[in-house]
Symmetry: C2
């Protein structure tokens, strides 16, 4: 599918360079199509790092490598090298050795110490990496290094993605403007708890490493862990953050106003990257926000929202412009969370939820209101839809973002390798 045929498009403004970071992308030979397939991001100044990894019990070689590196060297890394076209997952000892060779290739090309480069891979599972092509490519991508290479790098990490994804935020902390810029990829195998989704964020902020990790965890839980394309979480999912301190702000060493401002900016950047992944969902024609409120607690609200966004029946109804809310309540009912059918209210609206948006109430006290079917269909015909479920049980709330399930999802995934 070309970008032109896709219902949504990518970022509308350019990424903002981050002091001290260079970035580039090239085609090295992993993808037979000749498309960009190798990205390199590095800081000349040593970085504090933080990361969130997939919980999949079959973690890819890169996940194992990065977990170990982060544990070993949380304050002195420089770079991340990323290939697309091959996930280096389910590849055993040879896969682990290849992940190390990728990292060593980056370290050698950049003239940085051993054990200072992270690695990521995304693409087909169970095939060994063409490691020679990657090793030959690394010096070439390093030769293209520049501060504004973000678009090219984000193109180089795409698989079934239709458009490249980046986001930038700036915020004043400790008396200085700091910049956060990130890229992400992902279009299928997308579900909370990390999906076939890679993201790298870099910042020039000065922030203690434990707080950087806390901030990233908070941001990921409010963004990447709140999106679902198809309910599959993958072997490779990683969100990595590098902070080189080049902004020279007074160091963030504890929770407080500066930390909060940083978290807010990081969360905003992460949400933009996460929502771009949903908009880029395979075969997607709808961007849907599901809000659950009045659940027993936030965990139950999230459980209910997840059950709804995993339902193929709900998602084909979005695709078919069919306001078949019975399927939504059905999925709520089998979520395992506590609900009271006689208390449930369901509302829909066009667009993303915002104050004053005009809602149509479909269900009151668990039964249909007297709404007009054509009003509901008109809302479901929009490309952005909001669904709000109010349960009347407690204070628990959660918001997730998802998409529809259409013919093109099937086409893309039935023919992925063939």
């Amino acid at each position: 599918m070309s970008e032109k045929e896709h219902a949504f498009s990518g970022p509308s403004s350019a990424a903002i360079p981050v002091k001290g970071f260079d970035v580039a992308g090239i085609h090295c030979g992993v993808k037979p199509t000749g498309a960009l397939d190798l990205a390199l991001i590095a800081s000349s100044i040593a970085c504090r790092a933080a990361a969130v990894f997939t919980k999949n019990a079959f973690p890819a070689a890169s996940v194992l490598y990065n977990r170990n590196l982060l544990h070993m060297n949380p304050e002195g890394t420089h770079s991340v090298v990323i290939n697309s076209g091959n996930a280096n997952a389910c590849t055993g000892a040879e896969g682990n050795a290849n992940a190390r060779r990728m990292a060593e290739g980056a370290e050698k090309s950049l003239g940085i110490p051993d054990n200072t480069s992270f690695v990521m891979s995304t693409g087909v599972i169970g095939v060994q990496l063409p490691i020679s092509e990657i090793e030959e490519g690394i010096p070439k991508v390093a030769a293209r290094f520049r501060p504004d290479g973000w678009q090219e790098a984000s193109e180089a990490i795409m698989t079934t993605d239709v458009f490249p994804k980046w986001a930038s935020k700036q915020v004043v902390v400790g008396g200085q403007t700091v910049t956060i810029t990130g890229i992400s990829k992902g279009a299928g195998m997308i579900h909370p708890n990390m999906a076939t989704m890679l993201a790298t964020l870099v910042t020039d902020a000065v922030i203690a490493q434990p707080l950087l990790q806390k901030a990233l965890t908070v941001a990921v839980n409010r963004s990447f862990n709140r999106i679902s394309v198809d309910g599959d979480s993958s072997t490779n999912d990683t969100v990595l953050m590098l902070a080189n301190g080049a902004a020279g702000n007074q160091e963030i060493t504890e929770k407080g106003a500066d930390y909060d401002a940083f978290v807010e900016a990081l969360t905003a950047a992460s949400m933009e990257l996460a929502k771009l992944i949903v908009r880029n969902g395979e075969g997607v024609t709808k961007f849907v926000t599901i809000q659950v409120e009045g659940a027993g607690d936030d965990g139950e609200a999230h459980q209910i929202a997840n059950s709804v966004v995993k339902s193929s029946l709900v998602k084909t109804a979005f695709y078919g412009h069919d306001a078949n809310w019975g399927r939504i309540l059905g999925a709520v009912g089998y979520s395992g969370a506590t609900v009271d059918p006689t208390n449930a209210q369901l509302f829909i609206a066009a667009g993303q939820p915002e104050a004053g948006s005009k809602e149509l109430q479909l269900v009151d006290a668990g039964t249909p209101t007297g709404y007009q079917e054509e009003d509901a269909s008109a809302i479901f015909a929009e490309s952005e839809i909001s669904v709000r479920l109010s349960l009347g049980l407690g204070e628990g709330a959660a918001t997730v973002w998802t998409c529809d399930l259409g013919h093109n999802y099937v086409s893309i995934n039935a023919e992925y390798r063939t």
Copy 2:
């Protein structure tokens, strides 16, 4: 979609009548198409009853009605009246009153006491039943009563089903041949823990009511609760069993050889009905058996198998004839069950699993074997596929049956109400 275009077909032999039971189906006016939409099954002799109901937190009116009736009168019921085209779910107090009116209509028409008829409904959620049409239809369907009306009754409970489903088994218990005949429906919203799936089984066996319930629970857990079409379980799922004792066998009053023989026959009939539901899955072109063995325990094996059969990525790969086993291991990895990636073995074969069937091993010790892609694709091109995952951790095992996810699933479900 017509039956002719569907990849699979229904039962190959006729249902066997059961002593004392009459059955029929008609069009009464629920379905605008004029197709059969009302079935009635009844015994002139009072029946012991057993049932398994949906665990959905939004149970339909019929589920609430039947749960109460079974509790109140487990040994003296006579009949079940079933409509298709409307699920009478999320319909509040009016829906509950309509379920009662359906039951009372059957009781009046058949001249049987109050509180002796079960009710079932299947179809669209959230619309009130056209109760007058059903009340007028009940005497008409009763007027067509005969012992061999099973095909007509099973047609009358279809929704998106392509073919009617029935199964019969006979077994000697307590010195007499007893017959079990059942019908089922279901094509979407199909997942373990009962789906939009209705089944009614009747038998002339003499069996104590508590044992009848035990036998049904065992049979359901080995059959209806082991199938998945799309991971959605519904508001209406019910398996009902009526036993009128007309066979005159020595009563089954305790566990032993007679009970075991009865359970075996009932399980066989239930498995036939359940597998017919998968074969009838919406847009289905593949019937897939997933066997998990070597898991920590049976529960973990089932959890792993369920995670695989709920994956849209796995199911589109079946549809696309793509032996993309990385998606299978990915789904195993996020199941939440304990696995050891370095121990996993994966095998595929054409057909249903049987002793001596020729398997192709795709994965050994968590990494690909040197199998030939064309051999794997040839197996995935078959209409019946078996997948066996061996985990090497313990004795836990489970088998589930599922199908592929294709363009027609999307078409059927995007256009269900429109």
